[in-house]
Symmetry: C2
Subunit: 496 residues, 2 copies
């Protein structure tokens, strides 16, 4: 399945060329490939298996809080798309438009688009408009509320500069859409989802995150406010991992999503939408991997363990595979996902191959191990090797996997702490972004768009989010740009 | 979530108007809704939950035989689509074409498509061409084979007359695509998948099926041959449920999917493709449901059991819900999917509601039951009620669910046997299709396209499939149309 000619391709060290390193990791771990369609990628089985795990975990969490899945059309009539003014402004520049419904032969026999549509259809870049046109039909009374639906779907945004997982013309995501009787409920929903996302990143992807509110400049086109989860990549840039939007009544008014409340009055619903995409696979790659290849946290890895038999003249291939199969069976019983590498070839080559693919733990088993009733565990994250008795190896494997998970998280926490710089004035801020691996600058902002845009112009960094204020008494400081009193503590960073 | 005004809508008896009955079932069970996009439907949570179950079961079966999931772009460059001559002929008339990548304001400020693409993109109606363009890049050696990938995706075929689940412009499906070193392996794969589908229909959907080969007229555009699974609906029409295509080298040649074989020679791979779509939900509805509403076989039902507490002045609401919750918990422990109806309202109304939704088994629990330490089971398929002791009700529920599953299958088997008519000459064949509920006509066919088309012209029935010949000695008869010697035993039927 892999492009054999390329199999030996070296991984560019990240210190040398971070972008190339990222692409090399993807190629070497066989996660995705470029397609012949501009800006679209192919997600290969090793990459898609990660997405399946992400789907499985999140879907369960969503269902626990009463969210149901549904499916809405991929096409949106242009007129629907236009109804919310900010929304259309945000997406008009990058949408695929279907104008015809067949291919016909021209006079020379060449096929050209035929059957022109009376109204162009937009391939969904997001589905607020099409979904809320249905909500307006379904919702009549307060008894119908809340409505909490999600869909797993593909969307298209015609990006000019693309990069696998991070930015592609088509991508896969989930988009949740809720409708509530009160503003309070919608506000709570917006935050409840962000917390689900946060726990998911922390507990499964081992990615430490920063939560906060987007500035007016950066919020979703059509939202009252957007809250976001951002994480630091190893090049010090920020990546937006998931967002949750309080839509207020911005869509319920143009789409007439109304209900008769308990008091008999006709009211507009309050809405939220929120999403997470295949982009998080890009984050997973960038947060943990090293110059040997991909590193996956055990809780999201399609294979948590790979068993590599060490071929030896002193033991038959069959006997060795039998022993390895017994180990595999015991791990499976313990619900550990495991793969047995039965290929021919030298151990070293095979080790290298599985390292590139990011499998968290390798089990080696050879003649020496069998004689000593032991096996060898080799960690992908630290490279450590350890010989353990066969007697209770399952327990040992479980503990090691937990340890790897924890270690990856701690490593990422340390990394992002180190690269998070408190700044209190403009020269400090600028000097942060003079570094190639700048990281996050943490400082006060007065809330003025002018200051925000000045930072962007001078440093290319943007406000990733305004941190939530946990303290009862407001934290007050001075805007790093204009030095006026400021209440908003924000993260500035260059971003993907 | 339901359209409350419509909730009391009666279901048209199927004997009166079968098409309307079908639509009424969908509406009353809240499975789907029409969308504002021509020919596209919305799959509502109750309908989508069935699709999720279908996905879960099939995905597991596919993975058992080494099939992996991947994801390929939704867009296909027009030039790719054209490379296989039959393929483009088959799909050109019904494909959505993307011609622009943005919306721009015209001189009057009205938004119109802008950013014309240099080459139109077709929204995939099926993905052979885009996938095999990747295979040609990935496959080099016999060591790379077989490649066995599947994708769960949406596809678009611009149908003019649409009907929810059965025929919609956009639908959801899985499409498998394999590449093999030899013709024999590809042949075997084609049949292996059909057997997986067949077992799935029989064991989970409780639908008896007929397997066979499509005629040249009816095969997939681009296939060497197509094998199919067909089932009889309650109006006597056939519905194609799943197909598996032997593609031979029809695509590997134009797309240059080649490999170096063990003998050092460069060869073209042999390929198969196969798919099953949300259409099977249409079959599920049409095979089992009655005039009271949807009937779902327990093995595919999102809720296998619904618990309806019978409110009574003699017992507090809280106490009753507590008892019901204990029952629910025990069923969950036994891995039975169950829902507890805590709504207010009269039992009769609630029973009616759950009947319309097709939940296989209802558990009633009231004051009498609690005193007698019993509960009442009511079957959706037969309407039978039975009081069982609380002591070992889980066992009883399990047995009843199995019995419902078996009963639905047997009922469907009997129905389709009764409506399958052996015919040996043309007047017999014609008289079969003079009936409104015609069913299947089983007879010999010489293989001549003329005879096939004559039947279609005279009766509107088509050859659904040529039955596989299980006997060692060929079964020989006379063509029902021309009376010439014939080896092919076929099913004629009107079809969806």
């Amino acid at each position: 399945m892999e492009d054999k000619e390329k199999q030996v391709k070296k991984i560019t060290p990240k210190e040398e060329d971070y972008s190339q390193w990222y692409l090399d990791i993807i190629e070497n771990a066989d996660l995705a490939d470029n397609s012949p369609v501009r800006g679209c990628m192919v997600i290969k089985p090793s990459g898609y298996a990660i997405w399946e795990n992400i789907q499985g975990i999140l879907d369960k969490e969503f269902k626990k809080i009463g969210i149901k899945n549904a499916y809405f059309p991929i096409f949106i009539p242009q007129s629907f798309f236009q109804r919310e003014a900010e929304h259309i402004k945000g997406f008009a520049k990058e949408c695929a438009v279907v104008t015809h419904h067949r291919l016909v032969a021209d006079s020379k026999g060449k096929l050209i688009p035929g059957g022109k549509l009376s109204e162009p259809l937009v391939v969904r870049p997001t589905s607020e408009t099409i979904i809320y046109s249905m909500y307006s039909k379904w919702i009549r009374s307060f008894r119908d509320l809340p409505v909490k639906l999600n869909q797993w779907a593909n969307v298209v945004r015609w990006e000019l500069r693309t990069r696998p997982f991070l930015r592609t013309a088509e991508f896969l995501w989930q988009e949740g859409h809720t409708a509530h009787a009160t503003k309070k409920e919608a506000d709570e929903m917006t935050f409840e989802i962000l917390n689900i996302y946060e726990k998911f990143f922390k507990n499964y992807l081992a990615i430490p995150v920063v939560k906060g509110k987007k500035s007016e400049q950066e919020k979703f086109a059509g939202a009252v406010y957007t809250i976001t989860i951002e994480a630091m990549m190893q090049d010090g840039k920020a990546l937006q991992l998931a967002t949750s939007h309080m839509l207020g009544q911005n869509f319920s008014k143009p789409f007439k999503v109304r209900f008769t409340d308990k008091d008999g009055k006709l009211k507009y619903v309050w809405q939220t939408s929120w999403g997470l995409s295949t982009r998080v696979i890009g984050a997973l790659i960038m947060v943990h991997s090293d110059n040997k290849g991909l590193i996956l946290p055990p809780k999201i890895a399609p294979f948590q363990v790979v068993i590599v038999p060490i071929w030896d003249k002193k033991i038959s291939r069959q006997e060795l595979i039998e022993k390895a199969s017994q180990i595999k069976a015991k791990l499976r019983q313990a619900k550990i996902s495991v793969c047995l590498d039965e290929q021919e070839g030298r151990p070293g080559e095979k080790f290298y191959q599985w390292e590139r693919k990011g499998v968290p733990l390798r089990i080696e088993i050879g003649i020496k191990d069998i004689k000593g009733k032991r096996i060898t565990l080799a960690r992908r994250d630290t490279g450590e090797k350890k010989s353990v008795p066969l007697r209770d190896f399952v327990k040992e494997v479980k503990a090691t996997l937990n340890d790897i998970q924890e270690n990856l998280y701690q490593k990422a926490v340390n990394y992002s702490s180190q690269l998070t710089h408190e700044v209190s004035n403009y020269s400090q801020l600028k000097s942060v972004f003079e570094n190639k691996r700048a990281g996050f600058a943490l400082g006060f902002w007065c809330g003025d768009k002018k200051c925000e845009l000045k930072v962007k112009k001078d440093t290319l960094a943007t406000i990733r989010c305004v941190l939530f204020n946990k303290k009862k008494n407001k934290d007050i400081g001075k805007c790093v740009v204009c030095q006026k009193p400021a209440e908003k503590k924000v993260i500035f960073a260059k971003a993907y």
